[in-house]
């Protein structure tokens, strides 16, 4: 590899660093992403320039074209509510590509040396990529299926699962050792299959709301496989880029889990231990006060200060556009309305911002938790749309509750609270919300989108 190519590769790696750096600040995020894209394109064009006898160029360019069309179409068409599954899908294909590249690498290595001595470290890295890449591929596809509701989003477990897990892990280690000592392609393919099964089983027991954490973790895994691939190929961009994603992704996963007040281990294996009540709550039959859209409409129309608390249910119902119409209507009536954004409301961290931005909600109306928490006590009506845990006072009052310690929105301090949900079932954490039984609280049952549409009509007619 000529020196100038190595330097360009290094510059591309620096581009990735700058991209991540940019992405972590609101003002620089977009340019950061573009820098990353530019670095990636430059790095991928380079082999066509410097590799002496690059073969199959037309075929490869064709494959790139196919992939580009697929990627762009997918990225353009996807709705903002489906963003998590899109990221999962992109991550999965990346992991799959890494595993395939490693398989080809292994073939190269065995061909080149022809049974002679092979570098052990390189083989180990290859085995790692094959296994983890397959895990990432299969796991991501299962998360996709869960989020796209192609299968149940509830945790799926069966009695022998932990044992099967252990068995597969031992098998994978054994197969890796065989691959390293024998350098036999056949074993590697088996390793690949074990990885696929392992990936499926890893994600099955995770509940729907926890899936974003799993995506983030698999994302970090894929990064590490790419780094290992870079080591084997002796390529700085792959090594640095992959490692960056691996370490940043792992750290980001921890950040996300912390914002939810949980540990990563609990999220991944909580259902296996069986002791967790998460996601397993049952509907309570204690009496509550419910009302129809017309009554709630009157309450809203004559308030002077309203705060909206959007949550997971808003995303499920895809009701963000209807919600914005309602808010616009209230604003026109001279009512001061804001959205209170909890960091882990929605399907992914920061997801509520994306959803509401897509519905053209002006930036100024989205207020972060810490900035709005002091205002609830001056608020006439809090409208909780498909949220539950993020306003559950148990986070402050009940040590031992699964969400104890998680910061919440102080909706309980408002003069009146309206919950829009479909039933008395608890939220994601599976615990009852005392706020539902508060004398200040009114429930408006039904799908968020339907209810909001009715509410809109009710307010319009006033």
């Amino acid at each position: 590899m000529p020196t100038w190519v190595q330097v360009v590769y290094l510059l591309c790696a620096v581009g990735f660093i700058l991209a991540l750096k940019g992405l972590s600040g609101p003002r620089t995020a977009r340019s950061g992403n573009l820098i990353g894209a530019a670095a990636a394109v430059v790095a991928c064009v380079l082999p066509f320039v410097y590799v002496d006898r690059l073969e199959h160029v037309p075929l490869m360019l064709g494959a790139v074209a196919v992939g580009t069309v697929g990627g762009v179409l997918g990225a353009r068409r996807v709705q903002m509510t489906q963003m998590p599954q899109m990221v999962a899908l992109f991550n999965g294909v990346g992991g799959g590509a890494a595993a395939l590249v490693a398989l080809l690498e292994l073939r190269h290595m065995t061909d080149a040396v022809g049974g002679g001595e092979l570098p052990g470290f390189d083989l180990a890295a290859t085995a790692f990529t094959i296994f983890v890449g397959s895990v990432s591929f299969a796991g991501s596809l299962v998360t996709f299926a869960k989020l796209q509701e192609l299968m149940t989003s509830r945790p799926v477990t069966f009695p022998g699962l932990p044992a099967l897990f252990a068995l597969l892990l031992v098998g994978a280690i054994a197969l890796s050792v065989v691959t390293v000592t024998d350098a036999a392609l056949a074993w590697a393919v088996v390793l690949c299959v074990v990885g696929l099964v392992f990936g499926v089983l890893l994600v099955l027991p995770v509940g729907g709301a926890d899936v974003p954490i799993v995506i983030s973790l698999l994302n970090a895994f894929t990064g590490l496989t790419v780094a290992a691939g870079g080591y084997v190929l002796g390529n700085t961009v792959l090594l640095v880029g992959g490692t960056l994603v691996g370490s940043a992704g792992t750290f980001l996963t921890l950040l996300m889990a912390r914002a939810m007040g949980r540990s990563v281990a609990n999220i991944m294996f909580g259902a296996l231990k069986g002791g967790s009540t998460l996601g397993g709550g049952v509907a309570s039959d204690r009496p509550v006060r419910s009302a129809g859209p017309d009554d709630v409409g009157i309450v809203l129309a004559y308030a002077s200060r309203v705060i909206i608390v959007p949550g997971y249910g808003l995303a499920v119902a895809q009701a963000q556009h209807t919600l914005r119409e309602l808010v616009d209507l209230l604003l026109k009536r001279g009512i001061k309305v804001d959205y209170a954004i909890h960091p882990v409301a929605g399907r992914m961290p920061g997801h509520m911002n994306v959803l509401l931005a897509e519905a053209q909600v002006p930036y100024e109306q989205l207020i972060e938790m810490d900035d709005i928490n002091g205002e609830f006590k001056h608020t006439d009506v809090v409208l909780v749309v498909g949220a539950n845990d993020v306003v559950n006072p148990a986070a402050k009052t009940t040590p031992g509750a699964p969400i104890y310690g998680m910061p919440i929105l102080n909706a309980d301090e408002a003069h009146q609270i309206v919950f829009m949900k479909r039933s008395m079932r608890p939220g994601f954490a599976g615990i009852e919300n005392e706020l539902l039984f508060d004398p200040k609280t009114t429930l408006l049952f039904g799908d968020a989108k339907d209810s909001l549409a009715k509410l809109l009509k009710a307010v319009e007619s006033l």
């Binding site: 992405l23 991928c44 991550n91 294909v93």
Partner: protein
């Protein structure tokens, strides 16, 4: 320095860079950051090109082309979708809706 130690050094330093660079991210940006990082590991496309372009067997060629397609989807799709998300974030600032009056009674 031994080849292996060189790579280990670069790996270790990259781990620190990765962690430190994102350690100040606000939770609002978690999703775009995850998606952007996801796009970055699409750089495995480079690996796929290097491996496929130097293979002779037809079977390996087919596997390689599949890898290229998958990696391209990861890379291109990832950057485009991240940009789409971020575009909405930035567009919001100037887009003051006319309804955004502050004329509440309080």
């Amino acid at each position: 320095m031994t080849e292996g130690v060189v790579w280990l050094t670069i790996f270790v330093l990259s781990v620190f860079v990765g962690i430190e660079v994102i350690s100040k991210v606000s939770s609002t940006l978690h999703t775009p950051l995850m998606s952007g990082a996801n796009a970055i590991h699409g750089i495995i496309l480079l690996g796929a090109i290097l491996v496929t372009g130097t293979t002779e067997s037809t079977f390996a060629l087919i596997v390689g082309l599949v890898a290229i397609v998958l990696a391209t989807v990861n890379m291109v799709g990832g950057f485009v979708v991240t940009d789409r998300m971020l575009q909405m974030f930035t567009r919001r600032k100037p887009a003051r809706s006319p309804a955004d009056t502050d004329g509440g009674a309080r």
